[in-house]
């Protein structure tokens, strides 16, 4: 029952982030929706490998006897977070450039093709 609540809340957060991305008229709110989606995904990826009663996978003896959490999803999340940083920075750079060119950040004003 606890696992259903936990995973269900994370999936709800992902779907709400998708809704923010698709339904907003401000360009910065689109980038915020992208941020909510990536945060939900990273938390989900880390929490897959939780072992009950386990510690962090950093050891000081060569032969360890305690249980440890799964280290593979943590390594995957490290890469994912750095890629999300690069994506958000590029998206915000495009928003600033669009503001300089058209003078507004409403998405309604950026739909016309100029010739």
């Amino acid at each position: 029952m606890l696992s259903v609540i936990f995973y269900g809340l994370l999936m709800l957060m992902f779907v709400i982030g998708l809704g923010i991305l698709l339904l907003s008229r401000n360009a910065i709110k689109v980038v915020m929706g992208l941020g909510v989606m990536t945060t939900a995904l990273n938390v989900f990826l880390v929490s897959i490998g939780y072992v009950e009663g386990g510690t962090a996978p950093i050891f000081f003896d060569v032969n360890f006897t305690t249980k440890a959490s799964d280290p593979v999803p943590q390594a995957l999340t490290l890469t994912s977070i750095v890629i999300d940083i690069a994506l958000t920075a590029l998206a915000l750079g495009f928003v600033v450039y669009l503001f300089k060119k058209t003078g507004s950040i409403e998405l309604r004003d950026m739909r016309r093709l100029r010739g």
Partner: protein
């Protein structure tokens, strides 16, 4: 900003740099590593701009050294990989363990080529994120 924030940032700036370097260099012993330490050092640059103004930022941070650090980190990372191909038969192979043996466990010189790759990735993230911060500040300042 106010003079309290100015003097506090002036005192805190070297401590943040030392903390970031500690997280990078001890990447194979404590939680952290190259990426986390590089971003922690860039926090110091952002603090300098926010608390001390644009003139102090141009005095503390120079764009050319950040660009050199970015390219140097990427080339060093590839250099360790190709040296692993030369000395052992594998790309990213552990050539430090083959040439000089294993170090003392839990010391700074253990774990072979992983410590060298940590430091080069730390330098690369430092240069890259610093370049993004400098570009953003230059874009903000040229408009207003």
């Amino acid at each position: 900003m106010t003079i309290v924030a100015d003097k506090t940032a002036r005192v805190l700036y070297p401590f943040i740099l030392v903390f970031g370097a500690y997280v990078i260099i001890h990447g194979h012993l404590t939680p952290g590593g190259g990426f986390q330490g590089g971003v922690a050092i860039i926090g110091a640059a952002a603090l300098v701009y926010l608390a001390m103004g644009i003139r102090a930022f141009h005095r503390y941070v120079s764009l050319s050294s950040l660009t050199i650090a970015d390219s140097l980190g990427a080339l060093l990372f590839l250099l360790w990989a190709f040296l692993g191909l030369v000395y052992t038969g594998y790309f990213f192979g552990d050539f430090v363990g083959k040439l000089w043996g294993d170090g003392v466990f839990r010391s700074l010189l253990s774990s072979g080529v992983i410590a060298l790759m940590n430091i080069s990735v730390g330098i690369k993230v430092l240069g890259g994120a610093g370049e993004m911060v400098v570009a953003l500040i230059k874009g903000v300042e040229s408009h207003a």
